[in-house]
């Protein structure tokens, strides 16, 4: 769901302010700040289901996450940098994750771990949010059900690359990436409905196609 194209001004891609001048000092400072941030991303594990167990296995001794800077798992959103949503998010949990995202201070990023967080996964039912990127802005999607720890580490490395490419001159990084005010969603509602349509919705249980 994150592959939809959005107007430039709303995207989370890095933008340069053409007016600002990037001198030697600012680039060094950028590098320093980004290096510090990328290598000490304290995750907030919003672990709900099976992916949370794989997250715990990633944090344990065999696939240690601490060597990537995620030494301290911040369970309070107010002290976290990156929200790792590991597991399926039902509708009852949607306002909770929205609230937790709002409680995190800037700069913050989000990793959507697993198929269920990225797109609803195998849970195409009445109760599960089909992708948390409708309710919070996601930076990195990690596919898998559950993703192997190596997969999660790949996703974290991708996020670290993204953080390293940020620039102080980019004005968008200072703003909270707000949802569409009328629907409070991050993807336009007609697009959400259009993406869910092909699978239909029926009470017929015994047909071949689910």
């Amino acid at each position: 769901m994150g592959l939809t194209s959005r107007p430039e001004s709303q995207s989370r891609m890095v933008e340069y302010d053409p007016q600002s001048q990037e001198g030697w000092v600012t680039t060094r400072f950028d590098f320093l700040v980004n290096w510090g941030r990328a290598n000490s991303l304290w995750p907030m594990p919003f672990g709900t289901a099976c992916c949370a167990i794989e997250f715990m296995a990633s944090a344990a001794s065999k696939f240690d996450l601490a060597r990537f800077g995620m030494e301290r798992l911040a369970y309070s959103p107010r002290q976290a940098d990156v929200l790792i949503c590991a597991g399926r998010v039902p509708f009852k949990l949607a306002p909770i994750i929205r609230r937790i995202w709002q409680q995190m201070p800037q700069p913050k990023w989000c990793i959507s771990m697993g198929a269920c967080a990225s797109s609803g996964g195998m849970f195409d039912t009445y109760a599960v949010v089909q992708g948390i990127d409708t309710i919070i802005p996601v930076d990195v999607y990690v596919p898998g059900c559950p993703p192997r720890p190596e997969g999660l580490i790949y996703g974290i490395r991708m996020l670290q690359q993204k953080v390293m490419n940020e620039r102080m001159a980019d004005k968008h990084l200072l703003e909270e990436f707000a949802p569409d005010p009328s629907s409070q969603l991050y993807i336009p509602p007609p697009l959400i409905d259009e993406l869910s349509e092909p699978f239909g919705n029926s009470v017929h249980q015994t047909r071949s196609a689910p």
């Binding site: 509708f91 009852k92 949607a94 306002p95 909770i96 929205r98 195409d124 039912t125 009445y126 109760a127 949010v129 089909q130 409708t134 309710i135 629907s183 409070q184 969603l185 509602p189 007609p190 959400i192 409905d193 869910s196 699978f199 919705n201 029926s202 009470v203 249980q205 015994t206």
Partner: protein
């Protein structure tokens, strides 16, 4: 509290020389030895027992809805039955529109090592109500709430019957009914919008708790407004 408990052993009501149970094989699809409780039930309750079926080694007893609580109470209290363990309370709705909804209780007797399934049918057109067995088995508390949440069956006498798996203001209906489509009645974006407006903190705020305790003494218009869902959400 500095007490120790004497061990409760399963099978304690069986005769001393009964061998330990073994894995069942060659189980017939229908027929076979019924659970002795079925016979005892028909002897005691007569007409209230509609039928007894034995399938795959399990005995299912269909009972009349009105006598349900008396039957389950007897099964729990009687010393020859001692069904002290409630395993499950659930409901089944068939795809065939003619067949009525059935509510199912799975009872287990630990002293006798028996398993019994009690079913009652809720005829189409009648109210979806059955008696709650909460006063007999405390474990029925959440099981019956879940049955209400998923099917809309009201359990009369349950102290706190409200939704447990979906949120309380859930408007789409009762999910496990056959006329409820898999992906819900509303569109995905509408479901998202409705879920974001639920206010999870309002329930069981101090305001809510004091309202529940003082509800009886409030004036009528305030009661109306509260029952309509108005809260300040403190």
């Amino acid at each position: 509290m500095s007490e120790t408990f004497t061990m409760v052993v399963t099978g304690s009501a069986l005769p001393e020389d009964t061998p330990m149970p073994t894995t069942p094989y060659q189980i017939p699809h229908k027929g076979g030895a019924a659970n002795p409780s079925a016979e005892a039930l028909t002897a005691k309750f007569g007409d209230a027992i509609k039928s007894v079926e034995v399938g795959w080694g399990e005995t299912t007893v269909y009972v009349d809805r009105a006598q349900l609580k008396a039957i389950i109470q007897w099964l729990h209290d009687d010393s020859t039955q001692q069904y002290d363990y409630l395993s499950d309370v659930t409901a089944v709705e068939y795809r065939d529109a003619v067949r009525p909804l059935e509510v199912v209780w799975h009872l287990r007797s630990l002293p006798f090592r028996r398993f019994l399934r009690i079913k009652t049918t809720l005829e189409r057109g009648t109210a979806l109500e059955v008696d709650s067995v909460h006063s007999i088995y405390h474990g029925a508390d959440w099981l019956e709430r879940e049955c209400y949440d998923m099917f809309g069956i009201t359990f009369k006498g349950h102290p706190d019957l409200r939704r447990i798996l979906m949120w309380e203001q859930y408007k789409e209906g009762f999910p496990l009914r056959k006329d409820f489509p898999l992906r819900g009645r509303f569109s995905r974006s509408e479901q998202l919008r409705q879920s974001l407006t639920q206010n999870p903190e309002a329930k069981y705020s101090m305001e809510e708790l004091s309202i529940t305790e003082a509800f009886a003494e409030l004036p009528d218009d305030v009661k109306q407004r509260l029952q309509g869902g108005e809260r300040t959400g403190e």
